[in-house]
Amino acid sequence: MTIIALENLNYSYKDGGMQRFILSDVSFGFELGCFYAILGNSGSGKTTLLSLMGALDEPQSGTISYQAEDIKRLGYDNYRRNHVGIVFQSYNLIPWLTAVENVLVAMDATDNKLPKDQHAVVTNLLTFLGIDQGKATRRVTELSGGEQQRVAIARALATNVDLILADEPTGNLDETSSEEIVEIFKTLAHEHGKCVVVVTHDSEIAREADTVLRLSKGVLGVA
C-alpha cells in the first residue's frame, strides 16, 4: 500500500540569474513495510528530497500525498506532528534535556493516541533501541554519537507514525553501530510494517534495503 506518493516534484533555486534545478519532475510511490535506500552523489539533492517528504521545505511545483491526501492540505505542521518521524544526520536533539525528555517533547506535540504511561513507553522504546535506564536519564550531550542517534530514532518512533525518514543516520557512526542501526530499520519495516526511507552514501546499507533508489541530475530512479 502506497503511503507517500511524490508527483512531478520540482525544486530549484536561483544561482545568480540562472535557475538551477535540483529535482526535476520527480515522481515515486513509497510502500508500507518496505525499507528504501536512496543513493546519490554529494550535492545531488538527497537531503532536499527528504526535507520535502518531511514537510521541512516546500517544492516549487508538484504534490506530495500522504495516504492520498496532499500534505499541503493536511497542513505541514499537522503532517509533521502526526504522520512522519525524521532522523537527522546531526541528531538534532535538545542538548539540555535527557534522552527520555527529548522523546517526550515529540510525544507532547503529537495528536496521535498514545498509551497513558508515556514514561514507561519511552523507557521501553529506548531499551529496545539499546539505551539502558542509566543512560536514558542522562543529558543527551553526555551520550556517544551512536547513542544519540538511537535517541533520535526513538523520538521518530515514539509518536507511533508509519513513515520514518532518515538522512545519513549512520554517517557519524562506526561500522558496528551502523550495522545495528540498519538492523533496527529493517525490523521496523519488516516486523512493524512501517515505511522506512534512508538517504545514504554507504553501499553496505544499500545492500540491506528492499529497494535502492538513485538520485542523479535531478532524476530519481530505481537503481
Binding site: 526535507s51 521541512l56 509533521r80 538534532n92 535538545i94 534535556l97 517533547v105
Partner: protein
Amino acid sequence: MNFAKRAFLSLSRRVGKTLILFLVILILGNLIAATVAMRQAIEQSEHLAKLSLGANVSLGQDYQALEKVWSAGEEPELVALDANIIESLGVRAEVKSYDYTLDVYLSARDVKAYEPSADNGGYAITSVGGGRGLTLRGIHYAPVLLIEEGQLELVSGRVFSQQEIEQGAMVGLISDKVAELNNLHVGDNIVLANEIRDYSDETAILDGGEGTLAETRDVVLEVIGIFSPKSGSAEASATTPGSSDQDWMAQMLESETHNTVFAPIAVAQAEERFMIDAYAKITPDEFENAATYDPWYTPVYVLNSVDDLASFSEAAQAVLPQYYTVLNADSQFEQIAGPLKSIQSIVGITLVASVIAALVIVSLVVVLFLRDRRKEFGIYLSLGVRKQAVMGQVLIEVLLVALVALGIALVTGNLISGALSQELVQNQILAAQSDSMGISVSYASGAANMLLGNLTIDDVLANYSVGIDVPYVLTFLGLGVGVSVLSCILPLLYVLRLKPKKILM
C-alpha cells in the same frame, strides 16, 4: 513534556544564560524603577502641597499686567472693586462661603500692640508713624471666615451675630496676645485711636517724622471674643533654618495676625470715612473725589473643592474690571513649583530614554539568546510543535526571569531613587533660587494672605517622599513586562517564520 515544563527546565538547566538575562533586566529595571518612583513622588508632592493649600481664592490686582503697562510708561486708571461684583461671585454654586473685608490702620495710643521680641530671634517691626498700630478689620461674614476655616481659633467668647454685623455694632474680636498684653477679657472695652496726622509741614517730618496730630477720635469696641492663630498654620511651619526670607515673612504675618481687631464692616467703613474727610480738609487738592470714594475691599472666597477653581476663575475673569485677577495658592504654587516642574520634565525624558534603552538592550540580549537557540526552535518545528507553544515557552522563560528581576528592582530602584532624588530636588531648588535671587511671588493683600496660605518650597519638599504605592507598582511592572515581552516577540516571530530545513539542514 509540555511547553511550560520545558520553560522551567530550560531556565534551571541553563543557569548561566538565565543569570545573564536576570542581571540585565535587574539593572535596567532599577533604572526604570528609580525614574518611575521619582516621577510619582514629584506628582505626589505637588498634589499634597496643593491639597494642603485648599481651595481658597481672592480677587486682586494683576501685577503682571500692571507691570507691563507701567514699564510702557503709562499710568493705568485703577478702580476699586464694586461690592456688587464681589457679591454676585459670592452667591455662585462653587462658593462655600465668602467675605469681603476692609482694613483700617489705627493707632495703639492707649493699648500695647504685639511685637515679636528681638531676643527670640525675631525682628522688631515698627511702623512709619513711629509706634506700633493695630489693624481694624471690618468684615461682612459674622462667623468670621478665618475662624470657620480653622486658621484662627476662638479661645474665649463668641463670634459676631448677624444682627451686630448688619447694625455695625461696636463690638470686636482681639488676639490672645493683645488681650494678655493689655489685660483684656471678654466683656471689657478696647480703646483704639483713629489719628489723623498732618505731614504737609516739612519740619514736622524732619522732627521725628511723626507729623502733627490734626484730628483724632476714639474707637471703643466691646471685646466679645478672643482668638489665637492655630499652631501648625503658616508661622509654625515656616521655620526652616537657613531661609531667613521666609523667617522674616513668617514673623511679619504673625504679628500682623495678632495685631488685627475684627469688627463689623460698618465700623471700619465709618473710620475710613472719618479719615478721608479729615485728609480732604488738610490736602483738598489730593482728595477731590472724597465724597464719592469707594472702599477697597479684599474679597476672599472659600470654594467647595479644588476642582471648582477653574469654573470659578472663568466666571470671575468675565466680570472683573481691567487689571484685576483671581489670586489663589495655585498661582503661587506654579511659581514655587517651577524647579520641581523642570525636574519632572528631566525625569520624564529620562524615563522615556531608559525605557527605550531597556527595550533595545533587552531585545539585543534576547536576540542573542534566541540565535543561540535557533536550532532548538527548528527542532520543535520539525517535530510539529505548535508555534503558540514555542512562543509560550519563551514568554514564560523571559517573564519568569523578568518578574523576579523586576520585583527586586522595584524595591532597590525605589531605595536608589529615594537617596538620589532628595538630593537632586534640593539642588535644583537651590540652583533655581540663586538664579532668580529668590522666588518672587505675587502675594494677595494682607487680609487674604492668611486664608490663601503661604506655600513654601519647604512645604513641597516636606511632601516629597519616595514610596511604593499601587500606581507606582502597576506603572513599573507594566513597563517592565511590556519591554520584556516586546523584546522577545519580534525575534521569535522571525525565527518561527523560517522553514525548518533552513534552520536544521
